[in-house]
């Protein structure tokens, strides 16, 4: 398998993701400029975190019109796999590849913090290495992490098991205090109905090495790799 990590002007997470795939996991991965229009070589596209285009207007609003995004849409239609992290998730929302939108954090401040997350759905390509309802730890870092969707959309997400990650307490309760940014239903990550596009606020690439204090993030990447390579787990 081979992954593409897209560089947008202003994004900053691309090197962090690249480091995990290339140096930690020894996988084939390219950094791809946002003006690229062909993604045929790749099995997985990662839209990284950061502040593409300064997050001006709304996070992800300008990046969605990058030249590469036509190819990303086609990639999505073919059922190939896309992971959006932080700003990358915001782009997927702006492109309507995932439902909903993000708002400013409820406390109006940027939040950089470790969070506990409840893994709600392990039947996805991205999370098959976890147990369902497992409590994991990953950092968030964003000013617009407050996921919003209306009630019908939420019902649909619930019905289709599209909610993958939710903010929780260290013992797994979905309380308002554990809901760092005020997201609808403590949502930290969702997948599309077809199951090939995951958007998440927490940064798995920031907790994929022991030296960084945790490796729960690495299991996102190994889940994908194992499945795409057909490795039994």
């Amino acid at each position: 398998m081979k992954s593409a990590v897209v560089i947008f002007p202003g994004s900053s997470g691309e090197n962090d993701v690249f480091h995990i795939l290339n140096n930690v996991l020894d996988e084939r991965v390219d950094l791809v400029w946002h003006k690229t229009t062909n993604l045929d070589d790749y099995d997985l596209v990662i839209l990284p975190g950061g502040s593409s285009y300064g997050d001006y207007i709304r996070p992800g609003a300008i990046a969605r019109y990058s030249p590469i995004m036509k190819a990303v849409e086609a990639f999505a239609k073919e059922g190939k796999y896309i992971l959006g992290i932080g700003n990358g998730w915001q782009m997927l929302l702006e492109m309507n590849l995932l439902p909903g939108a993000v708002l400013k954090n409820a406390n109006l401040k940027f939040i950089c913090s470790d969070t506990f997350l409840k893994l709600e759905n392990n039947k996805t390509l991205f999370t098959n290495g976890f147990k369902v309802d497992e409590i994991i730890r990953m950092p968030i870092a964003s000013g617009f992490g407050n996921y919003f969707c209306d009630e019908p959309t939420l019902q649909e997400l619930l019905t289709n098991q599209q909610i993958v990650l939710r903010y929780c307490t260290d013992d797994g309760r979905l309380t308002p205090e554990a809901n760092y940014n005020g997201a609808t239903a403590n949502i930290a990550g969702i997948i599309n109905k077809e199951g090939n596009i995951l958007g998440m606020m927490p940064h798995p690439e920031r907790c994929s090495e022991d030296i960084l204090g945790g490796t729960d993030g690495l299991r996102i990447f190994t889940s994908i790799i194992n499945k795409l390579k057909g490795v039994n787990i």
Partner: protein, 734 residues
Amino acid sequence: MAGDLTYKDMGLNDEEYSQIIEILGREPNYLELGMFSVMWSEHCGYKSSRPLLKTLPTTGPQVIHGPGENAGVVDIGDGEALVFKIESHNSPSAVEPYEGAATGVGGIIRDIFTMGARPIAVLNSLRLGELKNERVKYLLDGIVAGIAGYGNSLGIPTVGGEVYFNSVYDNNPLVNAMGVGLVNIDEIALAVAGEVGSPLILVGSKTGRDGIHGATFSSEELSDDKADKRPTVQAGDPFMEKLLIEACLELIGENLVAGMQDLGAAGLTSSIAESASKKGRGVRVDVSKVPQRETNMTPYEIMLSESQERMLVVPIEGAADKVIEICNKWDLEAVIIGEVTDDGMFEVCVADEVVGSVPVLALTDDCPLYLREGAEPEYYKQHKAFVEDSLAEKDIAKAFLDLLASPTIASKEWIFSQYDYQVMTNTVIVPGAADAAVLRVKGRNKGIALTTDCNSRMVYLDPYKGAILAVCEAARNLACVGAKPLALTNCLNFGNPEKPNIYWQLQEAIKGIGTASLALDVPVVSGNVSLYNEKEDKPIYPTPTIGMVGILPDIDKRQDMAFKKAQDLIVMLGDFSSALGGSEYLYICHGLETGQVPEVNLGKEANLISLLLQGLADKIFNSCHDISEGGLAICVAESALAGNLGCRINLVANQLRKDALLFSEAPSRVVVSINPENVENLEKLADSLDIKMNIIGEVTGSNISCLVDNEEVIDVTLDKARQVWGEALKCIMA
């Protein structure tokens, strides 16, 4: 800004004006006058401080570039170097906290990548007034948001810093930002103007009317009647800066650059003059080529504008087109605005018409220097005469909780959780976890440690000793995480140096920095001076902020301050002390800012640092935390809170006052926790370096308990302590 300012309005005095006439052999025109005034401001010309700065030790085998470049450069082995500098953005932040602080980060980061280095970390050192003041809260809120807004957007982690609160900063907050970059030694870029005929390329934002005379105004006391003379506030565009970083590093990587210089204070005038002066060149600039954001800008406005996010690039021969092409790839405007000449003149033109012409060196090297007379202030002896015996006894348990809740001591999570401190995935010791931040260097075994320090109350009470304390604390903080201190940068925030008492503070503090820097072998490689920090004649405390970098030979041997294991022994390295002068305890519990600043023995400090480094290399310590604000009791409490493990301390008073024993801020002291098996090893080590060690307690239970002569004076549950310490700042700022 119409052309109606006099030379006095521009901050020049009569003698300086005469000197300009003498240099030119005629009266300067308005543009030329403006150029002189900004270049001869304290901010750019260091009129009052340069003679003193010259006394600082700046060399050592580790130093690649000391002061004189955009930032200092130190060797960290493997062909790599660290590039770092600290800079103030005080007056803009007092006016508009968000943009002031944001553009402060922008400015210091430009100094780093101008040298060809990839910026890898930001630190921030803040001083604010009392938080009971609504305006101060507004300032803190905006300043922190501004640093976060800019740094986070750049994708550079803000990994450390400090903040102190004192009413002397009510109207004059300090915002000092330190930038750190990593560079391959053979890719270091310098600000030189290249060859005669080389084009000058201006890259980045369009030029607007923002910040004209910013350099002058940051060198003057702010008074309200000058309000209308104030420059337009500069706003930052971090996205533009991010593009500049990537483009400039690509230009250097492709070997296309002869010289590069950021545009900071005094804008085009300063960056062009400084680049040209290094090789004694001249320059000819056509201001009509400068991309402008506003209409009808005059040459004066264009040359003095401090619009942010602009760089000056001098390409190597024949590379101009390639430079412009790479900039355009990054969506950056890049325009040739002039060229290097051989006549030593700085010529400003509008198309073919020359509108100003002054010798380059007159702007840079002829800036007048003032050797002023310092005078010891009245207060100095008075404070020294204070005797602690006169202090009333206070309830120790209550004092302990009051100190935990003091904003200067309380948890700073409200601040650092707004900073993205993890991006780049190198931060292995995060804010709040230890005395210094630690970053790994990917692909290497080594790590680097970063800190900023200055207890300005101590500096106020005794500028010489206080400055020594600041350097010592920085070095000790690095040693506590396992890093050998390498070099320092400093930001001298002082009041009006024309006042003999303030000049004395400056003299004494610089002497102190020099003394400590020599003794500990941490040369001064860069810095910045911010004078005239007073409002309504009320100066700030002299605040020589020290930024220091160190190297960990083995990143796996880093240490933080958290207690790790029940039954570990708690050991104090260093002496018990009765010194309460300048302590947070005196301030919070007695309302006093006075006393004799504790003695520091630099030999002992150096030995303590060696002990820490050796002990960490031998893996003896399970935690390390130096004693600073709040003294021994707060130090132990912080280690307990960080590890979420209780402790029981039992001290022997030995004639000392209980409060002094627990809350003294005497330097050269560290609390470590060790496995009982290691007692002998530690004893041997401490003995060989002549450092006293005392086993003062053990890690145990879920309370923080302190006994003095077997009598319990503090017994607080971890939960209670966490609530008091953890919520204080959060609640005030809510």
